[in-house]
């Protein structure tokens, strides 16, 4: 099934598209401004061959539609097919972002309604859909925190607090805005360590970034207290919505003390993931922060939908409105589920994760022995198998037909294995997953080489990542690839 780099399909004179003649009198080209290389780096291939190439390489991917994909923290749930048709309707896919508002009322209405729906689900007052991904939503939030404090003349706040279980994007975001990151410890039950928090919070605290349920798969039992401590110190509470799939209709983040949060439409609202994106990192906040949101935001005025940018906005975060195609998909998802359907999503997401937990925790140590939310964090420490690591377990799961869970994250748990089945997974598949995990634990003791050699049924065997990083080949270079292969 090997498929060569597309450049190796090229022969001079082929083309993969049919283009018309100009049909107008010719204008001379400005010779001094032309490129000089005859587009040497571009291939020449027929449509037939291009289609076959990408079809073939696609089959070298695992995906939700081919199997269980319990990648913790990524919410790899089923992507409804109606979403794909919806976003491709002519009046959605083929409208220009700069058209006059009266010519795009349907699109603006959808945007407006989605803003309100997300606000309602999360307990916030205003939503902006512009951020392109969760990390950009975080960026928006921390920029808003900064703007809010400065606007009040509170210019000493140069620190952002992050629990040590946080996604890497949280500290990276704070740093991008110019803040110093202060890490907060986790207590023995997997919650924010209140003592450590109290010790570190203060007048320099701009805010705390908290994921709840957190990346240990646990609902922070002290979230109210955490918020109280931060607020009393004059800080703001940022909610990372990566794990929102566990609490739809269960609790509103706005009710438990968060001032601002982002939604990952590609996770919770399954827009889908696209092999790494596009996503949408919409953000919501309480009224007192709404003036600082990025723009544009859609409002309804005298029966017309219009765009505006808030008065003290941090500015725009990307050109145009946002990833509108994702809005259409998330809107479709929510409107089809309704309130009861959303709650059922979270109930089943949590049910499924706990079912895996109780079936696996006697073999793979569970990081925190509590009821989990939509994901469970285990440890790849198998009794009697000292040579076996989490990576080996993950690779062996591939041979059993499963996408491995997230591994080595959260970094605060040694040998972590973070499993998120999502609500769309069947019991049949989860039972097969449990059986595979048990079989792997057995193999780890009896025949660890099976794990070290895994995977053997994937399109390729284990890949040498060290070589790739040492002498990076980041674009097609026939000579370099031949040299690599001849080693």
């Amino acid at each position: 099934t090997y498929e060569p780099p597309i450049f190796e399909l090229s022969s001079p004179g082929k083309i993969g598209a049919a283009l018309p003649d100009a049909g107008v009198p010719e204008t001379e080209l400005p010779a001094h401004l032309l490129r000089n290389d005859d587009l040497a780096g571009l291939p020449e291939i027929s449509e037939t061959e291009v289609v076959r190439h990408f079809t073939r390489i696609s089959q070298r991917n695992f995906c939700i539609d081919t199997g269980m994909y319990p990648l913790g923290s990524c919410t790899m749930k089923y992507n409804p097919k109606i979403h794909e048709d919806a976003a491709r309707l002519p009046g959605f896919a083929f409208i220009h972002p700069l058209q006059a508002e009266e010519t795009v009322q349907g699109a603006l209405q959808l945007t407006y309604e989605l803003q309100n729906i997300l606000a309602e689900i999360s307990g916030f007052d205003q939503v902006c859909l512009q951020p392109a991904a969760g990390a950009q939503g975080e960026f928006a939030g921390i920029l808003v925190f900064r703007a809010y404090h400065l606007d009040r003349g509170d210019d000493q706040r140069d620190e952002v607090l992050c629990p040590n279980s946080a996604h890497g994007t949280n500290p990276a975001t704070a740093a991008m805005v110019g803040f110093k990151v202060v890490e907060i410890a986790t207590d023995s039950r997997g919650n924010v360590d209140l003592a450590d928090l109290r010790a570190k919070v203060g007048p320099r605290t701009a805010g705390l970034m908290l994921t709840n349920p957190n990346t240990l798969g646990l609902f922070d039992e002290n979230v109210h207290e955490v918020a109280k401590i931060v607020h009393e110190a004059g800080g703001l509470m940022y909610g990372d919505g990566a794990n929102f799939n566990a609490i739809l209709g269960i609790v509103k983040p706005g009710d438990v003390g968060f001032d601002f949060m982002h939604y990952n439409l590609h996770k919770t609202f399954t827009t889908p993931h696209g092999g790494g994106g596009p996503g949408c990192g919409a953000v919501g906040c309480k009224e007192f922060l709404a003036d600082y949101l990025p723009g544009p935001i859609v409002a309804l005025k005298e029966g017309q939908y219009t765009r505006h940018t808030p008065a003290k906005s941090i500015g725009r975060l990307k050109a145009f409105k946002g990833n509108f195609g994702m809005f259409v998909r998330a809107y479709t998802y929510i409107r089809m589920l309704g309130a009861a359907g959303l709650r059922s999503v979270s109930e089943h997401a949590v049910l499924n994760a706990n079912y895996l937990r109780v079936n696996l925790d006697n073999i793979y140590p569970v990081a925190y022995d509590r009821t989990c939310m939509h994901e469970v964090v285990l440890q790849g420490k198998i009794k009697g198998a000292p040579s076996v690591h989490t990576l080996d377990i993950a690779k062996r799961l591939i041979d059993f037909g499963f996408h491995p869970p997230t591994v080595y994250f959260p970094i605060s748990v040694a040998e972590s294995i973070m499993i998120e089945p999502t609500e769309t997974e069947s019991k049949r598949n989860m039972d097969a997953f449990i059986a595979a995990m048990k079989q792997i634990a057995h193999e780890a003791v009896e025949n660890p080489e099976l794990l070290h050699a895994a995977p053997t049924t994937a399109p390729v065997r284990r890949l040498d990542e060290a070589t790739a990083a040492r002498r990076p080949i980041l674009k097609y270079d026939q000579a370099a690839i031949e040299a690599l292969l001849s080693k």
Binding site: N61, C63, G91, G168, P171, G274
Partner: protein
């Protein structure tokens, strides 16, 4: 029970028993009891058929460029998209996968990104490109931030006013916490040379666009020399379709080159999802944000692809990362990869020629109309500025009534131009479309 959920009532009961709780609600005992299970005030759930109808209703309330003839560009362009592009994007192996964390079962995504990086380098004549940014504007902003880090203590950014206004807006949003100075675009009428003159030994980067926001093609070779002489970096914003014919960042000697990849096979989609193409020189490679795919071999010596140089990224470096970017625009980068492969050498040049020829035909015809004047600015690609006898908003309204989406109203961003409209002509506008536009403008 939703048709997406695969657990039956009796399976649920069995699972709850295995977990040791009486009902699902018990699983949420960690949630503050008084806030648990709030009412969500949402519209009633719709069956799929009802939803499809509602979506068609909303969609039909918009004037789309399939049913209207479109002369609007200004950063998002109505180009022909071969059916093969979307046919491949619809393969669920691509769109229902995620970041290729497990390379052995993600070779499809990884190979596609590698080919994307290669094709973008070929198009731009640059050394290295990453796996994508959110869009052209964020790519530009991240490029500027990279330039600051690459030039160490320099914290001044000079930007030409002919760079897309929204891109300059994003640049300001992105850098507001970083203590940098942004200058060069205070006077919207300033030329590239005027702006470049502000580059000094405090300057990290000079940002310039060609073809610029007003459609003008610049010869940036002399500019690059001037910038480099000051020890600053040159960040060039460009347009991928123009690169089928015109001067590339590589030819110019740009250190960083970015562009909006939307013209490469991605629908207008009301502004997104698009894809930010980001490239730089070999020298800057390890400072580049975002994901990178490289080649290697597997245990059997077979060629394979992996994410590489990940130590630059946030999930490893956390607060010391080059950027916080995680999810990017993967599927849109795939669209650009497929489009670029289909077009290839000949097609890319031909599309550029079609745009150029038809735009120039349109400009001449409009320039001949009484009351209209095409602004003389030098060579242009597929956009040009027309001075109009009336406010642009009035004209676009009249055009819309005749089935035409008119150009961009420049009066807010470039007030010195008066009643000026930025008209864009692509290969999607036939001679007949253009003649109709001219007729309505002149009528």
């Amino acid at each position: 029970m939703s048709h997406y959920i695969s657990i039956t009532e009796s399976e649920r009961a069995e699972m709850l028993k295995a977990i040791g709780v009486a009902d699902v609600a018990e699983l949420f005992h960690d949630v503050p009891a008084d806030l648990r299970f709030p009412t969500l005030d949402l519209p009633a759930a719709l069956a799929e058929g009802e939803m499809a109808r509602e979506l068609r209703r909303l969609s039909s309330k918009n004037s789309d460029v399939l049913n209207y003839s479109c002369f609007l560009g200004a950063g998002a362009y109505n180009h022909f998209i071969p059916a093969a592009v979307d046919s491949l994007l619809r393969r669920s192996e691509f769109y229902t996968a995620y970041t290729p964390y497990q390379p052995e079962i993600s070779q499809g995504t990884l190979q596609a990104i590698f080919e994307y990086q290669s094709l973008m380098c070929g198009l731009l004549q640059m050394d290295a490109a990453n796996a994508s940014h959110y869009d052209g504007a964020t790519a530009m902003a991240e490029g500027a931030i990279m330039a600051i880090s690459a030039t160490r203590n320099r914290r001044k950014i000079v930007v030409a006013p002919s760079v897309h206004p929204q891109y300059r807006g994003v640049l300001r949003s992105y850098t507001q916490g970083l203590g940098v100075t942004i200058t060069g675009d205070e006077n919207p009428a300033a030329s590239v040379a005027d702006a470049a003159a502000l580059v000094d030994n405090e300057t990290a980067v000079f940002i310039v666009q060609s073809p610029d926001f007003l459609g003008v093609l610049h010869d940036l070779k002399p500019v690059a020399e001037q910038i480099h002489a000051a020890g600053a970096l040159l960040l060039m914003v460009t347009n991928p379709i123009a690169l089928g014919l015109f001067q590339t960042p590589g030819m110019v000697g740009a250190d960083i080159a970015v562009m909006e990849g939307q013209p490469l096979g991605i629908p207008l989609s009301f502004g997104g999802p698009y894809v930010g193409v980001f490239s730089c020189t070999e020298k800057l490679l390890r400072r580049m944000a975002g994901r990178l795919v490289g080649v290697t071999t597997d245990l059997n010596g077979q060629l394979g692809y992996v994410l590489t140089l990940q130590t630059r990224e946030q999930h490893i470096r956390r607060e010391k990362a080059t950027s916080n970017i995680c999810t990017n625009q993967g599927l849109m980068a795939l669209a650009a990869t497929i489009y670029t492969s289909l077009m290839g050498k000949t097609g890319l040049r031909k599309v550029a020629e079609l745009c150029y020829q038809r735009a120039h035909y349109a400009a001449k015809a409009i320039g001949n109309l009484a009351g209209y004047e095409v602004l003389e600015q030098g060579s242009f690609f597929h956009e040009f500025v027309v001075r109009c006898p009336r406010p642009v908003a009035e004209i676009t309204q009249a055009l819309h009534a005749q089935g035409i989406i008119g150009g961009y109203d420049l009066s807010k961003d470039y007030p010195h131009l008066g009643n000026a409209m930025l008209i864009c002509v692509t290969e999607q506008n036939t001679k007949n479309d253009i003649d109709q536009l001219v007729a309505v403008l002149g009528g």
